[in-house]
């Protein structure tokens, strides 16, 4: 047990990086997701196609491959960013594809009458999306957002493979030095569970607050 107390610093640093990665990536994913979902319901065929291509490409290649490609490939096309930054961008874009699907199904869940009413009032596409549809769609997205948040927490672990010392990498390093895997990995597992529980509670509270009674 004292393995953990002796390496509290490493675990703390790892946890902090995991939390930062998760929060920044989620924020990025939300932005990317809303933009892509809007593209996928827009009147412009090219935008719709681009949105579909985005989701398909991002979702069908493993995140690990994206991370390795971005870390080593981006500098070759002149984009040099730190490992942490690269990981945040890649995870944002990757989760953004899942977020886009959630937002799109949220948009589809908004009753048709709302869209018709918005149009009847003379709102343009952007206006009706921004002022009528999205606010309602995003509320229904809160719950899948919880699932995406948990997925994001788990996916940040892959950043370990490209040299970001987050929780999983920290646990692995402590284990290399101490060779007491059970305590070390159980601790890491508990920390991940705690993080997911936080995400679950937050989205649960959000959901209750934002729920639309129909």
């Amino acid at each position: 047990m004292d393995v953990i107390t002796r390496h509290l610093g490493e675990f703390g640093d790892g946890l902090l990086i995991t939390v930062e990665l998760t929060l920044l990536s989620l924020a990025g994913a939300l932005v990317a997701g809303v933009i892509v979902a809007a593209m996928r319901v827009s009147p412009v065929a090219a935008l719709r196609a681009a949105g579909t291509a985005y989701v398909e490409t991002l979702q069908n290649i493993p995140l690990l491959v994206w991370l390795v490609l971005a870390v080593f490939g981006l500098p070759e096309i002149g984009v040099m960013a730190g490992l942490f930054t690269t990981a945040v961008i890649v995870i944002s874009l990757y989760q953004g594809a899942y977020m886009a699907e959630a937002v799109r199904s949220g948009i589809n869940a908004v009753p048709v009458g709302q869209g018709e009413a918005a149009r009847a009032l003379g709102l343009t596409f952007t206006q009706s999306l921004r002022m009528v549809i999205l606010p309602q769609a995003l509320r229904t997205v809160v719950q899948p957002l919880g699932n995406i948040a948990i997925m994001t927490i788990m996916n940040t672990a892959l950043a370990a493979a490209v040299g970001v010392v987050e929780l999983t990498a920290a646990a692995n390093r402590v284990n290399l030095a101490e060779a007491q895997p059970i305590w070390i990995f159980v601790t890491a597992g508990l920390l991940y569970m705690a993080l997911s529980a936080c995400a679950g509670l937050t989205t649960g509270a959000l959901e209750r607050k934002l729920a639309i009674l129909r």
């Binding site: 040099m80 589809n108 679950g200």
Partner: protein, 328 residues
């Protein structure tokens, strides 16, 4: 808490516009698949390795196993006897360590110093170089040996007194060490102490990590999964130095003129042949084999064929058998 699934909660059928886009996309995917198939098909007559830079290990290498010795004194009921009856030596090794144990994708043959020694030992025991390599992560080698999954381990397996508590070591058969590589022209990093305060690249789960910590406790260590990744990271400036086993880095530096090796190895890693703990009979047998091939010059030929392709000069003197603490 009730969760709904994306697949279930999406009540709306796909709109025609999107359906069109999706179909078109599928078309793209199909076209890509076709072009892949085309690529694969149209070039099946190519000989490959000539097109691969840095990998021209050539097919003209002499077959060392042809002239290799075969043991005549295998005691009945010994481990060697079992291996001989099975007809195949099971070796714990790697597929991705250039010059030591690297799989050639074209022939699927594993090439390099460790791989050759494995084949020679197999020939010595069985009479033919029949080897099966079990790709093993470095943390699991002790377990693989003790539960009998593999007969021997040839995998840059440094002899240490701690490991010797769990496995028996024959050898050492080769002495290597960690060296520092930097980008060409770097003048500030010549010895391990110079790593202080620097960002240092190392392979994940390699002995380089503790060694760097020991030499320069405040160095920031960044790890990547494989040697080419570490090299790329070094070239892209994600760290000022890269610490790796000399044999691996020799190959890399030879192939890539933009990086250079700084100084001599700063650790001494005597590679041993891992055997099951307590199998003194086999340990003695393998040591005799090693003595035999060292005396006959076969050892030097193996070196020439692998590490000798990137290092000039004659083969070094092999380390004295039993000299490393843990191998007595």
């Amino acid at each position: 808490m009730v969760r709904t699934l994306p697949g279930l909660r999406r009540p709306a059928p796909r709109r025609p516009a999107l359906r069109g886009a999706a179909l078109r996309h599928a078309g793209v995917a199909a076209a890509a698949a076709l072009s892949l198939a085309g690529l694969a098909a149209c070039s099946s007559d190519d000989s490959t390795s000539s097109a691969v830079p840095g990998a021209a290990t050539g097919g003209d290498k002499e077959d060392l196993t042809a002239s290799a010795p075969v043991a005549t004194n295998i005691p009945a009921g010994s481990t060697m006897d079992k291996i001989k009856k099975r007809g195949r030596l099971i070796v714990g090794g790697s597929l991705d360590a250039p010059l030591l144990s690297q799989q050639n994708p074209a022939t699927k043959k594993v090439e390099g110093l460790d791989a050759d020694f494995g084949r020679l030992l197999a020939k010595y025991i069985i009479g033919k170089p029949e080897v099966k390599i079990v790709n093993s992560a470095s943390e699991t080698r002790e377990a693989l040996l003790s539960n009998g999954t593999v007969d021997v381990v040839f995998q840059t397996y440094s002899i240490t007194p701690e490991r010797a508590k769990q496995v028996a070591f024959a050898g050492p058969y080769y002495s290597s060490g960690l060296v520092i590589a930097t980008k060409k022209g770097e003048t500030g990093i010549l010895k391990p102490e110079d790593l202080k305060g620097k960002t240092v690249i190392a392979g994940a789960n390699t002995p380089a990590i503790p060694a760097i910590k020991k030499a320069a406790p405040d160095a920031k260590i960044v790890t990547f999964g494989s040697d080419p990744e570490c090299v790329q990271a070094l070239k892209q400036g994600r760290g000022q130095a890269y610490v790796q086993d000399e044999a691996v880095l020799l190959a890399t530096a030879k192939q890539d003129p933009t990086i250079q090796i700084q100084g001599k190895p700063f650790t001494s890693d005597p590679y041993g042949i891992g055997l099951k703990h307590g199998d003194a009979q086999m340990k003695q047998f393998v040591n005799e084999w090693l003595k035999n091939i060292e005396a006959s010059g076969l050892w030097a030929k193996v070196w020439k064929n692998s590490i000798g392709t990137v290092v000039q000069g004659e083969a070094p003197q092999p380390p004295a058998i039993g000299s490393a603490p843990g191998s007595e």
